[in-house]
């Protein structure tokens, strides 16, 4: 039970991440002023959409075998891209970062993505149809990484490769930090859940006594209710 759940989770989260990358690239494609870059982002987005589809298929294959209770937990709903943090509430990266940082981000993350797929390869077993698919996705990610690197060096020729290394190290630390932060948050959440529930219980006891008859509008002209009240 636990095993199938954690396995589903890997595909579920990866599919989210890949779809989020696709949307990031699509957004970049729409924002850029350069037709050449637009084409690059477009093809990149297309790859990421395909990656996402592959992982959704792998998820679905396992979801079919899982019990209904578990399967229900791994249904994909697009807004969870935002609630799970794969796409920032503030906007797409291209909207919130400068171009240089954006490319550096892509450059680093493609490599990080590739390395995380190595773990999935172990899950699906070697020389299966799925492992071949994942290997080809990894090849895509390496290609994306290479393209981002080339772009970066072309546009910022003054930057030396070692500076890219710094970007990469920074982003790796960032990424690790994100994971640690996420883990801490989850831990904190577990710790605080009883407290939250206690507060919710208290608030619920108060809510129970609420009289919502005030909200009844029967017989009233709805156009005359105060427009400044949030009640």
């Amino acid at each position: 039970m636990k095993k199938s759940q954690s396995e589903l989770n890997v595909f579920y989260e990866t599919a989210h991440a890949e779809l989020a990358s696709a949307l990031e690239m699509l957004a970049a494609c729409k924002v850029t002023e350069s037709p050449k870059q637009a084409f690059g982002y477009f093809m990149h987005a297309k790859d990421e959409y395909n990656h996402a589809r592959s992982f959704f298929e792998m998820l679905s294959k396992r979801g079919k075998r899982a019990s209904i209770e578990i399967a229900r937990d791994f249904r994909f709903t697009p807004p969870s891209l935002i609630t799970k943090g794969y796409i920032s509430k503030k906007g797409f990266l291209i909207e919130t970062m400068n171009l240089k940082d954006f490319i550096a981000f892509v450059y680093t993350n493609e490599l990080l993505a590739k390395s995380s797929f190595e773990n999935i390869l172990i899950l699906v077993g070697h020389s299966t149809h799925e492992s071949r698919r994942i290997s080809s996705i990894m090849a895509d990610e390496l290609r994306h990484h290479g393209m981002a690197k080339k772009f970066f060096l072309n546009h910022y020729p003054d930057l030396q490769p070692w500076q890219l290394m710094i970007y990469r190290t920074k982003e790796t630390i960032h990424n690790k930090g994100r994971k640690i932060y996420d883990a801490n948050l989850k831990f904190l959440d577990r710790l605080l859940t009883p407290l939250y529930r206690a507060i919710a219980y208290l608030a619920g006891t108060m809510a129970m006594k609420l009289n919502l008859n005030e909200f009844k509008r029967k017989g009233k002209n709805l156009m005359n209710i105060s427009s400044s009240s949030i009640l």
Binding site: P35, F42, F76, T77, A200, G204
Partner: protein, 578 residues
């Protein structure tokens, strides 16, 4: 200028109405973020309204949010509090996410559009639905509004009498948690489809079911109309949507109907569980029609009206509209093209407009079916390399492109369109569509299965001119306007050839679209009709699970990701190279 916005609890969107009462622009956040059902604060939509229409914040007189945030919050909390400790996780979720609920609308305006927060006012959820629908009528007086949805900010269904746009009196409501919309969503969920998206599938599936089956009867008994108190009644112990964040139905429903379906298993006609699921869907559909008829009958009784506006998520149940039109007291039913919550931004914007012109003359213009303004930026330039690398341009001139597209359709090809302004949504009416010859079985199958990967029990809509539709279908004049936005299904005439059309559903109905004059489809059909093609199969241009395409890049992307080969656009007719 007046802005209306929706979001947080339901799909977000923003609408712009000018000082002459004209809806000048409208966007769904999902169109821009490409996240289907996006509920986040609609900052991209608002931004786009401002940029595309060249507006500064000072040009905006008022902004209205479509519901009363605290009211929505308190109703859910109060109901959940009555079921502690079972509902504790829902309550915890509610209180923990307080700052992410619509209560923070003011703060989000402050954060993203500083200055607009001072202009913020609040409409009422069902009033926003009503005003949206009202905009689409020709006479805006003496009409009755019926709103039925999942949950607004107070109630789940309501009836009001519209004397004129400044006097809208609410006469009846169905209080939360009893809800026809949430009932339908729970059954959708039970059948393994996604809430807010799979409802169409349940509706399509119902046509395969048998009303007399045991499963249908059991579902039919889950709710009823009490004719002494004129209330909807329901045994809430079968549902969990008011108690839980993750479950919409309870174990008791599974005890009644059997185990819920695994969402990952595709339901295909002929499967062992197919008939049971179809019967359950049939029961849900029968119950929906029955309760809607009761609500409309009551609405007529208390308002004496023979003309009705119908909106809210449940009004998207196009298979029930034909029955409503047959009620003896109905002269007219108007359903706005976007009757769900996303469309409420339009009503909210009109709310600002009416409020600002309360004592002077005002005039609400009937909005276009294609209200989203076209991009100002030069698509041709920015997509130059994408097009030259991946596509060939078959025809650049508009007339030649339409002619060539028509020829391809006649040859049995499927064509995607990204033309002019975008639809209000959720239905594509030709400008963001996938089209093929509606009588060519192979072409329709190709559209459904190869390109769209649609559920086998969801029919594709046929689009045609009124004169053509009259030959094949039993159209009802009471809902003529509904056919323009694909809001109602109709029956094929008995023993008519239309029963064999690939766009006709198993139960002999079709979700006909009557094409508007001077629209893209009208233009295409005027070329196709002399070629002998009078009906187009019309489906939205998107990959399943994605929002409908918004701009040219989205269209090119659908072509690249699917087997679709042709795209009719404002820059010409394109053909995918590989």
């Amino acid at each position: 200028m007046f802005i209306g916005v929706t979001g947080y609890n339901h799909e977000s969107s923003a609408a712009l109405v000018d000082e002459n009462g004209v809806l000048v622009d409208f966007y769904r956040e999902e169109s821009l973020s490409r996240i289907k059902g996006d509920k986040s604060f609609p900052k991209r939509s608002i931004q786009k309204l401002l940029i595309t229409n060249n507006l500064k914040k000072k040009d905006i007189e008022r902004v209205a949010f479509y519901e009363r945030p605290l009211s929505a919050f308190l109703h859910i909390a109060k109901e959940a509090s009555l079921h502690m400790p079972r509902s504790l996780s829902l309550l915890t979720h509610q209180f923990r996410n307080f700052n992410r609920s619509s209560v923070s609308c003011y703060l989000d305006f402050l954060k993203f559009f500083r200055g607009l927060e001072t202009k913020l006012i609040y409409s009422d959820h069902h009033l926003s639905h009503t005003l949206t629908a009202l905009a689409y009528t020709n006479t805006k007086k003496d009409i009755c509004s019926v709103v039925v949805d999942g949950f607004g900010d107070r109630s789940t269904a309501s009836i009001s009498q519209i004397v004129d746009p400044t006097e809208i009196n609410e006469l009846w409501e169905c209080p939360y948690p009893i809800s026809l919309g949430l009932f339908y969503s729970s059954i959708t969920d039970y059948l393994g489809f996604a809430i807010n998206e799979g409802e169409y599938k349940v509706m399509g599936l119902a046509s395969f079911g048998d009303s007399k089956s045991n499963s249908a009867r059991l579902v039919r008994g889950l709710m009823d109309w009490d004719s002494t108190s004129n209330e909807i009644i329901s045994d809430m112990s079968y549902f969990d949507y008011h108690l839980s964040t993750s479950n919409s139905f309870s174990n008791k429903l599974e005890e009644l109907l059997g185990p819920a379906r695994n969402p990952f298993v595709r339901l295909v006609p002929g499967d062992s569980d197919f008939q049971r699921c179809a019967d359950i869907a049939r029961g849900a559909q029968d119950l929906t029609i029955y309760l809607l008829e009761k609500i409309f009958t009551h609405a007529h009784k208390i308002t004496n009206s023979r003309r009705f506006l119908f909106s809210g998520g449940v009004s998207m149940n196009s298979a029930s509209i034909d029955s409503l039109a047959q009620l003896s007291f109905v002269d007219e039913i108007i359903i706005p093209p976007s009757p769900g919550d996303a469309g409420c931004a339009i009503g909210a914007a009109f709310y600002c407009y009416i409020k600002s012109n309360y004592y002077s003359d005002f005039n609400i213009s009937k909005p276009s079916l294609f209200p989203s303004r076209k991009e100002i930026r030069n698509d041709e330039f920015i997509t130059e390399q994408i097009v030259s690398n991946e596509f060939s341009v078959l025809q650049r001139d508009e007339d030649d492109a339409f002619l060539k597209a028509a020829e391809l359709i006649a040859e049995g090809e499927v064509i995607g369109t990204v033309l002019s302004s975008s639809e209000t949504g959720p239905r594509a009416l030709g400008n963001r569509s996938l089209l093929c010859d509606g009588k060519n079985k192979e072409a329709v199958e190709n559209l459904n299965n190869v390109i769209k990967n649609r559920s086998p029990f969801r029919p594709t809509a046929p689009a045609m001119r009124y004169e053509i539709a009259q030959k094949y279908y039993r159209l009802r004049p009471e809902i003529y306007e509904c056919y323009k936005s694909m809001s109602a299904t109709c029956k094929c005439f008995e023993e008519n050839v239309s029963l064999e059309f690939p766009t006709t559903h198993v139960d002999g109905t079709a979700r006909v679209q009557i094409v508007e004059n001077n629209s893209s489809l009208d233009k295409l059909l005027s070329i196709l009709e002399p070629m002998g093609i009078e009906i187009l199969a019309n489906s939205s241009l998107n990959v399943s699970g994605d929002p409908t395409c918004f701009d040219l890049v989205d269209g090119l992307m659908v072509c690249s990701r699917t087997k679709l080969r042709y795209l009719l656009t404002d820059i010409g007719l394109l053909k995918r190279k590989k």
